[in-house]
Symmetry: C2
Subunit: 438 residues, 2 copies
């Protein structure tokens, strides 16, 4: 008989003997960790369970006594009205709406599992969301190719496709919260991050069709939106794992995520995965467009700015507990996400004492390359202040840095991109969870 | 450099040499299979690609010339208006609406990837969808336990959780199409099938908390809906991998899928995964409720009816091409899903000649236990009639049977449950795809 084991990595400050795993088998006389932790924390009932004494304690709910809603002839379903607070939200920290350059953020504090529902997937646009008819949309491949190509969506969808789980993170994720707290919730601090299973056609196949010339070093992708968003991308990455994506999470792309076609550059900053893709042009040099000079560059300590910082390096964040939550004493599962643009997550460490000590969290399967990985860590909170944070290690051996570490090689002035520093949450003596930066 | 390879398993009736994989590397002089197949099928342009001669062939679309839609302060996003045809649909083959016992079906023909969007996840209700407030919902564990328990949703959500990818299939999936065609599309023939990543708490942990007595052999689960749906489940399965599920695909359950709490019994017929779960009672015998006598039973050749047929055995179906589509000559990727309630999918074979010959399809990663697995198979259709079908093999060695095989051990009379037979699609000489049963 298989048994899903309770996690074994537990912070147990009271040294009560733990009996994980085997307590879930048929040996029902052994007391489990959870019951121990309930008793330890505040006597029986710390998790709120109460005895059912008789049939009178099992009242039949009203929903058992009436017919429910019937099924309409056709429908695209929506969440319960009781979940109306779970929305993606526009930033209220930085607002820049004169040119429709804006973003919305994913409620990571409410996301179980690894994929983000399409209705909650974060957005970033430079000039709003176009409403493109797939029947007239055309992708062109041109420039230094022997045979320039134009493809309709139906052309493209006749190719074999591949489906891959990948995270997507905006380079600006966390830019308001480097040195002191600006944001309250993990939706505001880290919500320019989502994950999906993406479906499309490898760019390499089409470049092969077009007969790309051997001297090509860079390609540029352009969107069909009002900003005509452009990014230059090195040929090696385009041939490695770049995809022409038309679907996410089991359905066609959403308009705000590039419908009907986007480029997808796995593990790199989101803005290179050009949405509403209308052309890819091959050349020998980067084009030095606005998104590579005025935007998406990193200041260095010597006053220079680094132009290309494509890879989103290993990072993690605790989503539960996180800002705005109130902790109850006793057993708490610390949960969060870890991800790396350079490979798989190899390990995540968790601290509850502000980094004095770290312990290894459990990684939940499946652990997939360049995909969100969920970590879990059991904690018995006895009351009293705590500082919770996580630290990711990826398959290259890279360890998520502290902000102090990052400061050694980069200048943190203003709203700096590419923040992958360790991020703490403060827990007050009464259990209030707040942004712990600085 | 990593390269995503074009699939190598190709039906190539013209014997043109195939050059998969390496054609996508820097060796750009080699012609790829796809270009060969284009040329072979109907000359250049079989996939509709056309040359871009000059800048005049790249007109700037209107969407580049205007600002798009701005982001609202908060939102739960929806699909493009151009995807309005992708809906789950109520059955129009069998209608039984006098008691709100009904079902809706997933548009599998439109599902890339392995998970089904929650808005398209199939439904089956015995008396409509209740609208349950999670703040007042209670789960009771009682019967033969030392300490009966009542848990609120917030109690339950303090437990550690697990997230698992699993398919869900209704036992009645395919019941209209055993011997002759009744349905047109794969949504109608196989759409009582979906897949999600489910999040919840192992039932075994709570039974351990409650101190289940050693003599318990069966448990019964009851829903809080208008049908008070009940099913008896053997204790071994409850302790093995059954979950108390509150979330799917990265958000809380949808109302029609059991919000705020359902039982989830991996790999078994959907109706045992009782939705709107309000109690689990432990006992020594099955309860022989209506769902175990009047429903969900299988007729045998000897006139007797088999009462419990829990496991959904290995099955597969081609979703592209499928009923209602029109095939174009030349290259076509045959796609579909395979799944087994007994383990992982080990292999899928595809036939294009009605079962005379079979060839192995490519399985796409990740291949997960009791989860939808996508298979792909490259095919060059030269015109002329064809009969396409798939055959799954699971990790136990079980091979998906033909309907003729199933008839040897079961009576196929009326609307029989548990149809996992091989399912063919006919392709006419002009490329029209229709239900090929019988």
């Amino acid at each position: 008989m298989k048994v899903i084991e309770k996690p074994k990595d537990i912070v147990d400050s009271s040294k009560i003997e733990l009996q994980a795993g085997s307590s879930m088998t048929h040996n029902r006389k052994r007391r489990s960790f959870l019951r121990n932790s309930i008793a330890m924390a505040s006597g029986a009932g710390a998790l709120g369970v109460s005895a059912v004494a008789s049939g009178q304690d099992l009242p039949v709910p009203e929903s058992n006594k009436q017919m429910g809603r019937s099924i309409p002839p056709e429908e695209y379903g929506l969440p319960s009205k009781f979940e109306a607070q779970v929305k993606r939200r526009r930033s209220d920290i930085l607002v820049n709406r004169q040119n429709f350059s804006d973003w919305s953020m994913t409620p990571l504090q409410s996301q179980p599992g690894i994929t983000t529902p399409n209705g909650l997937f974060f957005e970033r646009h430079h000039n709003g969301v176009p409403d493109i008819n797939p029947d007239t949309h055309v992708l062109a491949l041109h420039g230094m190719v022997r045979k320039p190509l134009k493809l309709s969506m139906s052309d493209l969808m006749r190719y074999p496709s591949v489906s891959k789980f990948y995270f997507m993170e905006c380079s600006g994720n966390g830019l308001t919260d480097w040195l002191k707290p600006a944001s309250k919730t993990v939706q505001q601090t880290h919500g320019l991050l989502s994950c999906a299973q993406w479906t499309g056609v490898p760019v390499s196949w089409l470049l092969d069709e077009a007969g790309m010339l051997p001297e090509v070093k860079w390609l540029i992708a352009e969107g069909a939106d009002g900003s005509a968003h452009l990014r230059s991308i090195p040929v090696e990455k385009m041939l490695d794992d770049a995809l022409l994506v038309y679907a996410m999470n089991g359905e066609m792309l959403r308009p705000e995520n590039g419908y009907p076609l986007r480029l997808f550059i796995p593990g790199w900053e989101g803005n290179v995965s050009v949405k509403w893709l209308r052309r890819i042009k091959a050349g020998t040099e980067p084009w030095h467009v606005r998104g590579e000079t005025a935007r998406y560059t990193d200041p260095m300590p010597n006053g220079m700015w680094r132009k290309f910082s494509f890879v989103m390096e290993a990072k993690s964040v605790v989503t539960r507990p996180s800002g705005g939550m109130n902790l109850q004493r006793g057993f708490n599962e610390i949960q969060g996400f870890a991800w790396s643009g350079n490979g798989k997550i190899a390990a995540v460490d968790v601290t509850v004492d502000g980094g004095k000590t770290w312990q290894q969290a459990v990684l939940e399967d499946p652990v997939i390359d360049k995909c969100l990985t969920r970590f879990r860590f059991n904690w018995n909170w006895q009351g009293g202040p705590a500082v919770i944070a996580s630290r990711a290690v990826d398959s290259t051996g890279y360890v998520q840095p502290t902000v102090e570490d990052i400061k050694k090689s980069r200048a943190i002035v203003g709203f700096v991109q590419h923040h992958n520093g360790i991020f703490p949450w403060n827990v007050s003596a009464s259990g209030e969870v707040t942004n712990g930066i600085g």
